[in-house]
Amino acid sequence: MSTTDIIDTLAGIEPGSALDAIRARRLQARDNAQKSYLSLFEPLDAGEVSLAVRAAVAVFVAGLHGESPVSAFYRAKLAANADGAALVEAIEAEIARGNTSGPYGAFPAGPLSIENKAGLIYRVSADRKPVLGARLVAALEHAHLLVFRPRDAASADIKVLLAAGWSDTGIVTLSQLVAFLSFQLRVVAGLRSLGASLGRPASAAANA
């Protein structure tokens, strides 16, 4: 089990740095973001969601956010999994197909409908379904929905997962996985930006 804080590592936060000291003031959040990562990617009992499927979904979700230290990290994790390495190429190809900008989607019909924004309704390519398998295909399509158009999510999307062989508890784990990654990617991106700005006076930057 890893003892290195994954957010600090991916954000490039060095022990003893200014950001390390700031992070230490929210120690419970820091420790439990780490425990969230461990309970999703190194669970005591993976149950019905294999470590390879978890890593494959993570590569897809991180990749949809663009190339970053986070996407490289999960790609290496999938490649290191005995059942996952064969999936890397297919997932990379699906990231390219699913690439778009969010959030978009529809609000409940009414005054907010004016803010509805149409966009890609992603489906895995037919060619890649055999290598990915029905459960992972459904998971990737659901992950794309959650990443880019979470407000479109409906009870029908749960039924699609159930029909593909996901259980109620498996769907909770899958949802937590995608939602946690949405958090982790943003904390890392935010801290990296802040870290890069340190030592650069705001006034100078403002005048730039």
């Binding site: 003031r25 999510a153 999307d157 109620d168 909770v172 890069a196």
Partner: protein, 194 residues
């Protein structure tokens, strides 16, 4: 799923109290074990349909809950609670989570005493002019919520010009990022009801 037939979904953003109905069966209260109660953190959360659903994966729920509490409730230093709640409300407004926005807009109003400004965020959306400091927090939260993530040096400069120090900026990053987690659970596992 049967409860869905009784749902009366809100069609606007509101500070009113809303209910939330799960699309997946939560665990029955009677079936909760000590492992589940550890996941719930507060035993009283066993009354909530949402938490009894998430407790199907108790270790993840426990870690998530403790992350949430420290980011929002640890106000010994750093960003005032009102502005952490503003980051949560703005993120929810942008992602489109009417339920999350209702809860955290209410908290933002309670802690800031600026209920009308909070309501303008809900009514007018993320472009509402709420003054320099709140505008900077809302804009940073929105940039973080975008996919690909649009947060960058301009947001940091803007937050600094509005008077936030680095520790407060980290609280904005944590609070806004956390709601990208919360919004996706609330939006995809059930729906709000009036």
């Amino acid at each position: 799923m049967s409860a869905a037939s009784t749902v009366n979904p809100p069609v606007i953003f509101t500070q009113d109290e809303l209910g939330w109905v799960s699309w997946i069966d939560p665990l029955p209260e009677a079936e909760l074990t000590e492992r589940h109660f550890a996941g719930l953190v507060d035993r009283s959360r066993a009354k909530s349909e949402y938490f009894r659903l998430l407790v199907r994966d108790p270790e993840v729920l426990e870690a998530r809950t403790k992350t949430d509490k420290d980011i929002f409730y640890n106000t010994a230093d750093g960003l005032p609670r009102a502005e952490r709640e503003l980051a949560a409300a703005a993120t929810s407004r942008y992602n489109g989570c009417i339920y999350c926005a209702s809860v955290h807009a209410r908290f933002a109003s309670t802690y800031s005493k600026r209920r009308d400004d909070v309501q303008r965020l809900l009514d007018e959306g993320i472009k509402a002019d709420l003054g320099e400091r709140w505008n900077a927090v809302v804009k940073a939260s929105v940039a973080l919520a975008a996919t690909p993530i649009a947060f960058g040096p301009d947001n940091i400069d803007e937050l600094r010009r509005a008077g936030l120090d680095d520790a407060e900026i980290v609280d904005v990053i944590n609070g806004a990022s956390f709601f990208n987690w919360a919004n996706r659970l609330m939006l995809s596992l059930g729906e709000p009801t009036k």
